[in-house]
């Protein structure tokens, strides 16, 4: 095999937990750049697609690769056997539940008129899963890679702070969170500092007041 391509089996990718679903982090694993690509898997009755809406302009396509899914889009429900494609326009609620064991749904997303710019939520989901399993070094390596790729993107530093807070490393957590606050020119991080449960382990630390100020 040459460097310019790669073969991947969805069954072989290490999964991550995200919002009550099991994510197969395809984009993170492959480094695919033109669009967001990921997959979700669940057994019968399990949540496949976390309930959510996407921002303005963000289109998503779901493809049932294996098994059967029950989609809810807006207020409509539909049965979706393997080979079914479901398109969801921006700002419309969507979720899906597996109707057979081993169901896999592949998802593609992007924003109309904009180059795809990976926010890294999927990578963070994998890092956080590693943290929950006690694999701190592997999780930290992912966060460091994300920061190296987009050093000026405040949400990545913020997530790295959450990771370290949850992992029990307050010094590292405050370093990342201070950096996030510096980078966040619009002050959007403030509401997260106030209400994010991930930061509870360090909330009583005197240094936390600096972040709220």
């Amino acid at each position: 095999m040459s460097d310019g391509y790669r073969i991947l089996s969805l069954d072989e990718v290490e999964t991550a937990s995200h919002d009550g679903s099991t994510l197969i982090p395809v984009r993170h694993t492959l480094g695919f750049r033109p669009a967001g690509v990921n997959a979700w898997t669940a057994d019968d009755g399990g949540q496949l697609i976390p309930p959510h809406t996407e921002d303005s302009g963000n289109e998503e396509l779901y493809a049932v690769v294996r098994g059967r899914a029950r989609f809810t889009v807006g207020e409509e429900e539909a049965d979706a056997p393997a080979g079914t494609l479901v398109f969801v326009p921006p700002e419309v609620f969507r979720t899906a539940v597996a109707a057979e064991d081993g169901t896999i749904v592949f998802a593609v997303g992007g924003t109309v008129g904009e180059a795809f710019n990976a926010g890294g939520w999927d990578s963070f989901a994998l890092a956080d899963t590693y943290r929950q399993e006690g694999r701190f070094d592997e999780g930290r390596a992912i966060m460091e890679q994300l920061i190296a790729e987009k050093p000026d993107y405040w949400p990545t530093s913020y997530n790295a702070g959450c990771f370290e807070a949850q992992a029990g490393y307050p010094d590292a957590a405050f370093e990342h969170l201070r950096r996030a606050k510096e980078l966040d020119a619009e002050g959007r991080s403030a509401e997260y500092f106030r209400g994010d449960g991930d930061l509870d382990p360090i909330r009583d630390d005197p240094r936390f007041q600096e972040l709220l100020g």
């Binding site: 040459s2 073969i7 302009g57 690769v65 080979g83």
Partner: protein, 210 residues
């Protein structure tokens, strides 16, 4: 709900033997490029090609059946839930279905650039109508493409083919010269394109040795 099974999408038979299932157009997706393919008479499911011209990075997902992919000369037999990610646009890739029920979903685009609908979507749509002599329908589809991509050389070239085949020599020559002026590669293609038999001897036909 905007939902469709791959088998229920339009079935566009291509000369290379594969069947194009136009996913992006069916759903009106604008954010990214995506299409599906099923095997045609020859068993081909992904046409042999590179993405050198468009610079696209591509991902092929086997949704059903078995497919033998050849990428950069290497063969890989893949089943449902397996992917081929071709990050290097210059690599030649193709797929042959090993089972009649095979289906492949493709996602692609140019990294770092907003998605643009490719001209080939319109020429692929018009192709079966051109081959069947339904020139009015072919014209309509290609004109629709020019609304989306004004001046696109591949679309203008195919429109020239339509006019030549329809006996509209003057229009064909005008369009063919427009395509060549936009993209010199079409000068070479025109030399051996049988669609232009009716206008090839006209002095205004683009000459090979320019």
């Amino acid at each position: 709900m905007s939902l469709a099974h791959i088998d229920d999408l339009d079935r566009i038979e291509m000369p290379d033997g594969f069947v194009w299932r136009p996913v992006r157009k069916h759903f009106g997706i604008r954010a990214f490029g995506t299409n599906a393919y099923t095997p045609g008479a020859s068993g081909q499911i992904v046409e042999e090609h590179t993405e050198g011209t468009l610079g696209h990075e591509e991902l092929y997902l086997v949704v059903r059946g078995r497919v033998r992919f050849t990428v950069d000369g290497n063969e890989h037999e893949l089943g449902p839930g397996q992917l081929v990610h071709v990050s290097d646009p210059s690599l030649r890739r193709a797929g042959v279905a090993l089972t009649d029920d095979a289906a492949v979903l493709a996602v692609g685009g140019k990294p770092g650039a907003p998605h643009e609908v490719s001209a080939w979507e319109y020429t692929f749509f018009a192709g079966p109508h051109i081959r069947a002599g339904r020139y009015d329908e072919a014209r309509r589809l290609l004109q629709e493409g020019l609304q989306e991509k004004p001046g696109s050389a591949p679309i203008v070239y195919d429109l020239a083919c339509v006019e030549a085949l329809a006996g509209e020599g003057e229009k064909a020559l005008e369009l063919l010269n427009e395509a060549v002026a936009t993209d010199e590669r079409f000068r070479k293609y025109a030399q051996t394109d049988e669609d232009f038999a009716s206008i090839r001897d006209d002095p205004r036909f683009p000459q090979a040795d320019v």
